[in-house]
Symmetry: C2
Subunit: 778 residues, 2 copies
């Protein structure tokens, strides 16, 4: 079993890695056959419904469920009194599955019902009598930090859920060296994951003493562990089965109360309960992206070298804490490894407000700081009179670097991403001049980003494990607990196993994650599944391969090292006519005296380390990098921005499946554009104003640029499976600053507050500084 | 990985082995929560129904499904034309899922329907037009062998599906030494398994290209392989999931057409189909016990030694061949290892008749020959003037023997079983004299039996494999593909894993069998699951234990061999205060640099061998033995037999769970009594006269003897897991001869044809020889 070993070196054996093979679950999904959590059918399943607070902050004086309980067909009406009253939260335990004594946001879960039919559940919900005493509320994180603000949690004075400071080098000395200092406040907003499948769960409980849970969760084993703690059960009493998941994007880490409530209803009724979020439930009570206020100050030497950086980050936690402490830490720290910084100081504050609790979303806290930093880079280039591309290349992190926070960058395609993006968009020379006249002005902007491929955090472990069975007919079954939430990890695992084993891709099946039958895995987060899970699958496949070669060697009276496997055929390298199929070998491995099935076992943990108390340390096994260029057309009369073209290059180490990698890039670009331009959960006194897709605009087909060009940069990471690194989250981060920079290039106006709406740009264009012409080809 | 190694020696570590712990699935089952195949709920599942032949033998001239297909709601009506026309059958491939050109018994499957609702399916069934041309039929196997008999299969002249001859030593010389020769014809009959759950299946098919099958099958992986062949699919395209199974007793080996038809309907409709046998379907078209005509001749020396045996066996195959060739072989051979025989000759003929195809049932072909042989033993004792107990002990096989067919008997409790049974029933001295006067006469009879614990047959492999996961909370999950059909194997595996690991029994879960996620196993047959599957679980648990000890040794800076595990606690033998829980160790095994979950892998194949062409060879890893005594009261006026008491001793090697072992004995005794006295599938011109539980009498509570005393004999087998051998089938075999011998003891009449009905006994008692008084205490 290999640990953090360099697994790449051997070239692909079957050419499956790197091939544009179709997804293993493609047909099922496009035909509608794939079963998602809400499709799970159990006999006599009850319908769950949740009663939510209409107030942003109130004391619960009385919750009377007696009338509701009398509705025919109602099997249970539960409140906090029916729960173990154990708060959950991965880092700060402040969330009760049902509100205890107080509600803290509009949408907070107060009670829940399970009934035989939906109508009875709805009727019961209406009959629950709740008496609230309204309390003063606070909605803005800066106001919430101020003295005298309403306090959300008694044990968190000043509404500070978490704070951190990090300092490296000598910031003051750095700024003293600076020829130019850019200082600006950037604000980012809450956005919703907008996955196709709302959060749903089916939970069954009975005399086995086990909860069987089918839910749209992205981390089967971690969800099992977190549920167990809050429900006061041993984890193994929760059998979690991951059905198909219709997108997650960080929103299905189950930090919200949905799954706790369906489990509590099942426990209470000793039955099976189905709970399916409405789209409105999602908008008012899931865990959207963390809004952030970033005050950023960066000093540059005359040659463009970044000499100092100082930042203050205020992250809006909403009413309760999900994984926001680490999201904020990501905002504070991660972008620092993009460039060769030495001197920096960052303070971060995670602040409670009486709004929907925020949480993880693709990119974690990274898009927020990348928007600020990459905007500042363009602002600095202008000040320095440098080409923004040249400025980035001047500072860019390179392979072999140990960054300011101790990241050991084993592979790095950042400069290549920048160069290829620039080339593709026609940056050098052909970078289109902004339309100097007329109402439609064009501009091009650039930004880059970095991320992780897994992040060592939980108990000094960031690994994965897998089993690879080879069946008698030569078909291979990969068992992994990582799961697939739509990103295609089952496809990637099938390719890795096929490549390592030397069998056709079509011969590999990958099971769904199931806490009983699949090996432990941490699930989809931190862009780790391909990198870490893929390596575990590779190690397991290599173990299965060894078994196939050994039995064949015995049958051929040859040495295993003289044998090879290709296209499902095992042959002697020197006597290629001596051959067996993998099926024959697998069968021979069982059917003999002392036989056994071919089962490969694999585990892999990356060569990363926990950060120290100052947050210094090589937290991930590999770091992906990327760059994005946006070409926009701004209507100076309306302030409307139209994106004409996006070029996005990602250093994926190596693309296991270029089609899926490009899909990740395209999806990330679109999600990034939504973040940049139109998506925003809008609030008024804590009430969400647009809790539906009519009022909350995601990028629809008509909004998507004519061209989204994906470029795969493949430096081949020494630790990645066949060289691959994480990708999914990376690609979102550079989109918003690329658009902001393109807008500034087109019309000179610098928008520092996301989203870049027509309204904001219209106003900015009418401010005095907006009238100065943009500098072409700065 | 150990192969055939002696695994017993270490005493139980936690005392779980040998304990009367409750079944792992007890609560689920008694509360009705456990889901059986018919309980599997899928959205939009279609209902399947089957059209059967009303004729015992006919040519299919026309099958017109056009009207049936027009019934609203009907999704498919299939005939042989819709199938790949590949016959199935484990040994003789003569069975088409739907009859091709000809039907050969009343019940033969002609067509099948899948419809949205049951009413539509029924209506469609009625609208299928079938034109038959009746053919002459034959119902008696001896008649079927005669020249001029109607022929069932063109390629099997003389209606012989299979025949064998086996000869050892010098039979003629043996008989020349004989002081007494007993020669008699014995006949046995067809009985039904009478499991609670009729055969049922739910099969889903769609764009995954896989059939997902939930069915009441007792051999998940073998069923997968057999289905695949007949459906012309790779086995891995069939994902078999074993739900709870409500008893199998050999009847759920899926040799009948049920599952082929539900799969074909699913393939045809590209949907999910549920097919549930009615009880009548079971009686007319499952695979009941093989009726047999045995002509047996045994020679005895004056001292009681068996000097020669000659047998002719004619087994009634019914219309098609299931596993009957090997069942007949078992009838011909297996009982020969009960005694120290040297000279024998046996001919066996498996003969087609136009009746329900017969098949495997608890005991395979063993109860048939045991009835004959153990009746002959009593007849001989009478001739020899010996005590039947003494005669058996005189000839009994002993540990260390290599029997006439090459079985290496490593452990043998036969004599102890006989002695303890006799002692319990009060045989010596107190053996009650038959009531010499009055209409109710009492008698006591004895019989013994042997069986196998697995049987090497398929590709020189008779092993099993398992995985044992230890979760972070210390809970253990055993993954085995053997499955549990109600015999309690999941409970046994939990005990074995708990014992080997040193954790509490309650901390072990055992998954259901699933061809995708559980390792390969051959399933429930040949009484092998505890012996072979249990050893694989033990090896896997030992591997997991090693991992737990290694991590603890590292944490303690101690040597693994100085550590022990007991009650879920790992401690240093010399410093017992240095201790960790298994949960802590399992967690520490994952959460560390280079960590991985604790997953033990185990495989085990017994030290048995394939028999040679003469059927000589040590076919099983261990041989269980048993004895049974019956005390009966015969009403000489009516011929009715009332069983007052049964004592059954079984050499189980070691009882992993004495409660379950006793349950097996009790159930086997009751099933054996039904075989002996009342159960019989009766036919008239090929039509089953009693296809329901009103007319087919199984032993009901009122019929069951006041006392069924189970005795566990535990010589501790050197190869068994903690010494255990197979048990389930053994205990049926000696019941019928014990009852026959008791009846003979009571009233002097020897019934040689099962079942021993009041009618037969009434007639026998009125035959001249029945009038001679029985000899007390022969």
């Amino acid at each position: 079993m290999s640990t953090g070993a360099r697994t790449v070196t051997a070239p692909g054996r079957s050419g499956v890695v790197g091939a544009r093979v179709p997804r293993v679950d493609g047909k099922e999904k496009v035909t509608g056959e794939a079963a998602y959590a809400a499709d799970i059918a159990l006999p006599r399943v009850l319908v769950g419904k949740v009663l939510r607070s209409p107030y942003p902050h109130a004391r619960l004086l009385r919750v009377d469920t007696s009338k509701a309980r009398r509705v025919p067909g109602v099997k249970a009406v539960i409140t906090a009194e029916d729960t173990p009253k154990i708060p959950h939260g991965l880092f700060v335990k402040d969330t009760y599955p049902l509100a205890l004594e107080r509600v803290r946001y509009v949408g907070d879960e107060v009670a829940a019902v399970a009934a035989a039919i939906e109508e009875a559940a709805s009727e019961a919900l209406e009959l629950i009598e709740v008496e609230y005493e309204e309390l003063p509320a606070v909605f803005d994180p800066l106001e919430a930090m101020a003295p005298g603000a309403p306090q959300l949690h008694a044990d968190r004075p000043g509404n500070i859920a978490y704070q951190l400071s990090v300092e490296r080098g000598d910031v003051e000395a750095g700024f003293r060296q600076a020829a130019h200092v850019i200082e600006e406040r950037f604000t980012t907003h809450a956005t919703y994951h907008a996955y196709l499948e709302p959060i749903a769960s089916v939970v069954s409980y009975g005399h086995t003493g086990k909860l069987t849970v089918w839910a749209s969760a992205q981390e089967p084993f971690m969800t099992q562990a977190e549920l167990a703690e809050a429900l006061h059960l041993p984890p193994s009493d929760i059998h979690f089965i991951q059905p198909h998941v219709g997108g997650a994007f960080g929103g299905k880490t189950m930090d919200d109360n949905h799954l706790y409530i369906s489990c509590l209803l099942a426990l209470k009724t000793r039955a099976a309960v189905k709970l399916v979020n409405t789209r409105e439930d999602e908008f008012v009570a899931s865990r959207p992206r963390v809004p952030t206020v970033i005050d950023l100050k960066v000093g540059f030497a005359g040659d463009g070298a970044i000499v100092a950086k100082e930042a203050r980050v205020v992250s809006d936690n909403g009413a309760y804490t999900s994984r926001t402490p680490v999201i904020m830490r990501t905002t504070c720290i991660r972008a620092d490894s993009l460039y060769r910084l030495q001197n920096l100081r960052t303070h971060g504050y995670l602040v409670y407000t009486n709004k929907i609790p925020t949480g993880s979303m693709r990119g974690f806290g990274n898009p927020q700081m990348h928007f600020a930093l990459e905007s500042v880079m363009d602002m600095a280039a202008r000040e320095l009179g440098m080409d923004p591309l040249a400025l980035r290349l001047r500072n860019a992190t390179q392979a072999g670097d140990v960054t300011v926070h101790g990241w050991r960058v084993a592979s790095c395609g950042l400069s290549e991403c920048l160069e290829r993006t620039a080339a593709e968009v026609g940056w050098r020379g052909a970078r289109p001049a902004p339309g100097a006249s007329g109402t439609k002005r064009r501009g091009v902007g650039l930004a880059c980003a970095t991320h992780v491929s897994g992040r060592r955090h939980f108990g000094n472990y960031d690994g994965s494990s897998a089993l690879v069975k080879v069946n008698e007919d030569g078909r291979v079954v990969v068992l992994s607990g990582e799961g697939d939430v739509g990103q295609g990890s089952r496809t990637i695992f099938a390719q890795i196993a096929a490549e390592e084993l030397g069998v056709p891709y079509e011969d590999v099946d990958v099971t769904m994650a199931d806490t009983e039958s699949t090996p432990f895995g941490m699930g989809s987060h931190a862009s780790k599944v391909t990198f870490v899970g893929g390596n575990a699958v590779r190690v397991a496949a290599a173990d299965a391969r060894r078994q196939l070669l050994e039995i064949t060697a015995r049958l051929f009276e040859a040495r295993a090292e003289d044998l090879a496997i290709q296209d499902g055929r095992i042959f002697h390298r020197e006597l290629p006519q001596r051959a067996l199929t993998v099926a024959e070998a697998a069968k021979a491995h069982i059917y003999r005296q002392g036989g056994e099935p071919v089962i490969g076992k694999g585990a892999w943990d990356p060569p990363s380390e926990l950060h120290d108390k100052t947050f210094y340390g090589n937290i991930s096994g590999a770091y992906p990098f990327g760059a994005c260029a946006a070409e926009v057309e701004v209507d100076v009369e309306s302030g409307e921005v139209k994106v004409l073209r996006i070029v996005s290059a990602a250093d994926v180490g190596r693309a296991i499946n270029p089609m899926l990698a490009e899909g990740q890039i395209e999806g990330g670009v679109i999600q990034g554009l939504g973040y940049a331009l139109c998506e925003e959960i809008r609030n008024e006194e804590g009430r969400v104003l647009n809790p539906n897709f009519s009022d909350y605009r995601i990028m629809a087909c008509e909004d998507i640029p004519v061209e989204v060009k994906a470029i795969l940069v493949e430096p081949v990471d020494p630790y990645g499976p066949f060289g691959a690194k994480g990708l999914g989250e990376l690609v979102v981060a550079p989109v918003a600053p690329a658009v902001a920079n393109a807008v500034a290039h087109a019309v000179g106006a610098r928008i520092t507050s996301l989203p870049i709406t027509a309204e904001k740009l219209f106003t900015a264009l009418r401010r005095p500084q907006a009238s100065r012409p943009a500098t072409p080809n700065r």
